[in-house]
Symmetry: none
Subunit: 214 residues, 4 copies
Amino acid sequence: MTPVEAEKAPAASTAADRRAARAEARREEILDAAQRIFAVKGYHEAGIADIATELGIGHGTFYRYFANKQDIAAQVLERAIMQIAAALADEDPTASSTVDEYREQTRRIMFSMFELLDARPEAFNLLHVQSLAIDVEALHTSFEAYSGYTEKFLENGVEKGFLRQDMDVEITAQALVGLIFEGTRRAIAEDAARETWTRWIEAGVALMFDGVSG
Amino acid sequence: MTPVEAEKAPAASTAADRRAARAEARREEILDAAQRIFAVKGYHEAGIADIATELGIGHGTFYRYFANKQDIAAQVLERAIMQIAAALADEDPTASSTVDEYREQTRRIMFSMFELLDARPEAFNLLHVQSLAIDVEALHTSFEAYSGYTEKFLENGVEKGFLRQDMDVEITAQALVGLIFEGTRRAIAEDAARETWTRWIEAGVALMFDGVSG
Amino acid sequence: MTPVEAEKAPAASTAADRRAARAEARREEILDAAQRIFAVKGYHEAGIADIATELGIGHGTFYRYFANKQDIAAQVLERAIMQIAAALADEDPTASSTVDEYREQTRRIMFSMFELLDARPEAFNLLHVQSLAIDVEALHTSFEAYSGYTEKFLENGVEKGFLRQDMDVEITAQALVGLIFEGTRRAIAEDAARETWTRWIEAGVALMFDGVSG
Amino acid sequence: MTPVEAEKAPAASTAADRRAARAEARREEILDAAQRIFAVKGYHEAGIADIATELGIGHGTFYRYFANKQDIAAQVLERAIMQIAAALADEDPTASSTVDEYREQTRRIMFSMFELLDARPEAFNLLHVQSLAIDVEALHTSFEAYSGYTEKFLENGVEKGFLRQDMDVEITAQALVGLIFEGTRRAIAEDAARETWTRWIEAGVALMFDGVSG
DNA sequence: AATGAATGAGTCTTCATTCAT
DNA sequence: AATGAATGAAGACTCATTCAT
């Protein structure tokens, strides 16, 4: 390789890289705009034109990055599900060894859910309100993933003996997911204050660990 | 009043009554058809034409009974919510005096939910899948009603001393509604077998009354 | 049947008939307009909007009568092919018994083609210019039909002995169709005068019956 | 002119020549690709993108060589017409002195048409199927050229006395062109076997020289 | 000279709603 | 009271063409 070639090669590669990076950035921009638009207007009421206008780009540009409306919607939804999943991923399902540790872990998980809800309300709006219009299957799959993850925590507790031994781990995990999501659903619907979070976390943890019995 | 009038008046009134009854019956027919269609095709995919065709009536006739698509959808949804509410109404929130009685009552309530789900899957489909497309507000209102009703059961237990005294009754009721609806949501989505119901009822009751702690 | 029913029944049937007749008339109107538009602007340049505007009806009305653009185009083309075929159908393939009779018959056929071309130039424009854009297959099928029909005349002549005995009837028929259609093609393209028709008919008949040899 | 300039000038001119040659070669490549694409997909269905992709060049590059889609289509069509014309140009319109010589000449011409059709089916597809979408006028002009050329052969025969003296040379030439093109049209449409060629040539020549009379 | 990202005019098609019969 | 023909707003999507790099 001559010095000239040595200089050219990286340059060319950088140019191509830059282009790819730009394209990816633009794709991300459109995805963001779409998430906003879908969250505000809803999947069906939102038009491709709305997304394009939001970004000040032409309609056609949109179609350079996404095949069609359904395509971007699915990607937006998937991203929202991933963002939420990421908030849960910090916790290790096998970390707790006592009820109190697990109780504390649960508090943290619920808290990060509410934090995320504050930071990215659109992500939850997508999940709660738009997902059905976009792809019913995707919603179900994501709930499956969340409950599967929750199951691991419960299994850990049962194995280590600090949770009820006769627990139907699978169903209980599903029920707990329902419980948590109802919390976030209401928080969005009612535009809940931070104080309400605390009540949900405390009441939720109390219900989950102690039940309603006196 | 002449004898002639005396005869006519009741006759006329009966004719009007019959007409009104007929109209009401037709309205109900259309509502039924719409519920089926919405449940099968979804709110947005379903057209007025589908409903009219299902009944063998003209499109125009539809508009003699309902103002527009949104109108009938709202009524269909409201009806579905009422049908589900009716299944709960059999139980008296103040009936239980011991934990075991309430536990039994809760079992019955959950069981009737699953029975209703078997009898009227469209009602639940409407609630779970279509409601968001039709009227987000209505869904929230209905959840509000369900949780308000559940609250009464909890309050009764707290007052009578057989439920946890420090319970956040409002939030706990909301959480329990979320839990139950997740159960029905999954039952519909997965077309669950009767056996799964039992697991849900048992695991749900266990979680609710005893919590997960060992 | 009571007298009342007797009166009603026909009346009802007439009302339905009238509606069907109106629909058919409208369908025909749209078909006519489409033929004009397609002939003037060409299949691809013509829009549904052009057809609707031509008739002063809404775009949507068009779709009550035809499934889509391709649908009406196919029907327009089929109609044009039928109109041209009708002009030929007057002649009986087995009528001639001598060369002179057949020669006269051929003259008449060619003449009616030119007459039709004068009366319905759009029909020929459709066939010659638009057909390929609409449905290549349809054009080929129609040529097949025309040459099949021509074949019958030639067979008749060969059987009766007044036409060349060693003739390849099939191919010759195809060639003659090509010859005639080139005549009409040019007549349209050049907006030919009536005098040109006569030259085509005479030269065509001479070529067909006597060939070019001296 | 300094010696240096003397050396540079020719070098520059050669470089420019090479560049021009390269440009011409590229132009030809694009033209070839376009001919293939138009023949396969049709003028309207084919996109500039298809042509660019076929060659692995950018869309923009296309526009350095052709003004627009219509432009290249016209050139492709013109080239096809020229290619077909070239196949005819081998024959001298004044070469024949007897009917038999002309008959033989005609056979050769028809044969070379079928040979060309075998070698360059796209050229004929362009002419028969795409030309109308591209430029109706061009098609007519080319037919004009073909018939003008045919006319020369006929005139030669009439002058030399071996063809019918009362022939309408102009119209007859046009009719013969129609006859031949119908042959090639069918050959393409039906993907005709080589055997069919012979039948067309024989039947065509027989019809042309002897007519159908017995 | 080559590229390909950006553009937006243009088109078909759907469907809720109205209204004359 | 019932009908269904007519309507046109609305929206997704394509593709020839331009132009900055």
